[in-house]
């Protein structure tokens, strides 16, 4: 099997799995194939590994134990990792329920917020190291996704729901813009950040409720 300093069997063996998985450049694959046609032990090894791979591909998966799902759910609830299902109940007038929930979720909260008075600058609030910066980033990602979903569905909603939602969103966007501008301008106070988080939360809930209602 050895004719010079190279060890073609060892070289082939090292590349056999790649060759079996069609994962070699054409030139190397041709080299492996050529060696296998002239070396019975390596050809046998390739056949064994190929058969083994195929057997592993076909190994049946066990079913997920039905009782395990319930066990996990109970444990998650006991650790307060999972809340009770809050989806709208089927059979209810979905759009009306959504409108009511939206008004409850957003109207009561942000209308009570004080105006951003822009008091003395707090330079510590300027940096991205602010404790709430990560939360703001999470809200932004969540909103980017939710807004993309809602933008496709909102035009299909009845006018009596679409218009108040658009109006609510515009007002929330204005609140967000005001606070972001305050932060960017170096005038943010802890309250600016806290109310910004509240407004983001309101908007997330608004959009999420709209989507939940649409799913219902």
């Amino acid at each position: 099997m050895r004719s010079d300093d190279r060890n073609p069997c060892a070289e082939t063996e090292a590349r056999l799995s790649h060759w079996l998985d069609d994962d070699l450049p054409a030139e190397e694959a041709a080299s492996v194939r050529a060696h296998l046609t002239s070396c019975a032990p390596c050809a046998n090894l390739a056949a064994e590994l190929g058969a083994l791979r195929d057997e592993l591909n076909r190994l049946p998966a066990a079913e997920f134990p039905p009782a395990l799902a319930e066990r996990i759910r109970r444990q998650a609830e006991s650790e307060r990792l999972l809340r009770r299902d809050r989806r709208l109940r089927p059979g209810r007038p979905v759009w009306a329920a959504a409108a009511a929930l939206i008004l409850l979720a957003t109207g009561l909260t942000w209308r009570a917020m004080p105006p951003d008075a822009a008091p003395a600058p707090d330079r510590a609030q300027l940096t991205i190291d602010h404790p709430l910066a990560d939360a703001r980033q999470e809200y932004r990602y969540a909103l980017a996704f939710l807004e993309a979903q809602v933008s496709g569905l909102l035009p299909l909603a009845p006018a009596e729901l679409r218009q108040p939602i658009q109006s609510e969103m515009a007002q929330l966007d204005q609140l967000i813009e005001d606070r972001e501008r305050t932060i960017a301008g170096g005038h943010a106070t802890p309250q600016t950040w806290e109310t910004l988080m509240d407004v983001y939360q309101c908007k997330v809930e608004l959009l999420a409720l709209f989507l939940s209602a649409d799913e219902g």
Partner: protein
């Protein structure tokens, strides 16, 4: 999007501040958002999507169904604790696998699986059945259980679950080349184990 200019500007704001490529993770992000909101239906969906795969991975890594159930429960509780950390940069399946595999492997790094007990179970099953296909399957499962945890994880993910090397590399935080190399070594050890040789 034109119907709601304010929303377009908000999305632009996000993109401007975080200009990274955003593959279509909408389904994953939607599921995560629903879980974060506390929808039980969403968690049920998570279990339906990934429960069987994680349970099977744990079962084959541990060689013991009871241990696999405990590990699967731990993994899902861990996922719920960490779910807010999911940011859509990787596919949710990759992220979940990463959490699951790291948790499962860490279990066996601390305490190797009880291969003797597993082999005892296998032997009992072999006696109970005369079907050669079942014998072979049990031999395969037993051999998998005797691989080192790292090799076992790569072999299970690639050859049994059908994941690609790129995904495995992301899950295990290794290079694609290392994943390929470990797979080859795992297959060679499997062959030796099935032939009765100690690798």
């Amino acid at each position: 999007m034109n119907a709601i200019p304010a929303l377009s500007s908000s999305v632009s704001l996000v993109m401007e501040h975080f200009p990274r490529p955003v593959p279509d993770r909408s389904e994953d992000l939607n599921l995560v958002a629903r879980i974060v909101r506390g929808e039980e239906g969403a968690f049920r969906e998570l279990l339906e999507r990934y429960g069987r795969r994680i349970f099977n991975l744990a079962r084959r890594m541990s060689g013991n169904p009871a241990t696999a159930e405990d590990l699967t429960q731990e993994v899902f509780l861990l996922l719920l604790r960490k779910i807010r950390q999911y940011d859509g940069r990787a596919a949710l399946s990759t992220w979940i696998y990463r959490v699951a595999v790291n948790r499962i492997i860490s279990e066996f790094r601390r305490q190797p699986p009880a291969t003797e007990a597993a082999e005892g179970d296998m032997a009992a099953l072999r006696i109970a059945s005369a079907a050669p296909a079942l014998h072979r399957r049990l031999d395969l499962e037993a051999a998998i259980g005797r691989l080192p945890p790292g090799y076992r994880a790569v072999l299970l993910m690639h050859d049994v679950e059908g994941l690609r090397h790129q995904e495995i590399a992301e899950i295990l935080d290794i290079s694609v080349g290392t994943s390929k190399s470990q797979l080859h070594h795992a297959r060679m050890q499997m062959r030796d184990l099935l032939q009765g040789e100690t690798p």
